[in-house]
Amino acid sequence: MVGKGRGYQKMKSLMTPDIHIAEHADDILSDEVVTNEAHQLLVEVDADNKDVYLNFSSRLAMYDFARSLLHEAIYSKGGQMEFYPLEFQGKMEIVNGVRMPLNSARLFIFYQE
């Protein structure tokens, strides 16, 4: 988990309640989330009762994930989003606005076109 203190205050300053979602996909995420692998989403599924857990390591990871969903809802076509762990050349990469650890379940979102 990403801890509190000065870093926490900095993260809070990156999460403005005044949100503008530009069409250009490169503007969705904060530089902090893109460059800091500590910001992650772990998806877990309880096979017994089908509960699904979305474990965000930071508020900022959740904030940028939400921005990614907003961008898809406003601009995109295709009817679905896929989120999955992606490790490339030793780095955990972001997919569709969120970085997942290798032990995360995949996450799929569907919507009407």
Partner: protein
Amino acid sequence: MERHQEDFLDALTLGIPMAGAGSVRLAHRFFSAGRGAGGADDALLTVLGKATPTGGHPNQLMTVLDDGTRVLFRKDFGAQAHRLGGSFQGKGKVNHYNIQLQTKSGGHIENIHIVPTGKGRYTWWGKDGVIKK
């Protein structure tokens, strides 16, 4: 071409369909990467040849183009098969290949699903719907 790339050849040697904005995006990016005199098919195979296995999936390759665009090739068969949207909604888990284009920060540019439909034929489906049958 190494064995892990051969898994994708059956679906990809039928060529990139030149219809719809999605396939134009694909072809444009692949032309930039391929820099060859050949067509979009040659560029696609060139990009596939440069892709290397990733962690997180047993059948996934990725390469990064000169402009930072990420190109992923993924085979979602068997245990990795999953539900799809669009014209495949309601059909349960579907074996398919993916060609994905992402920005260097993981933003979504294009996501082509290549679905085998039997007898060596494939349906290509992306942001613009079905672009090739």
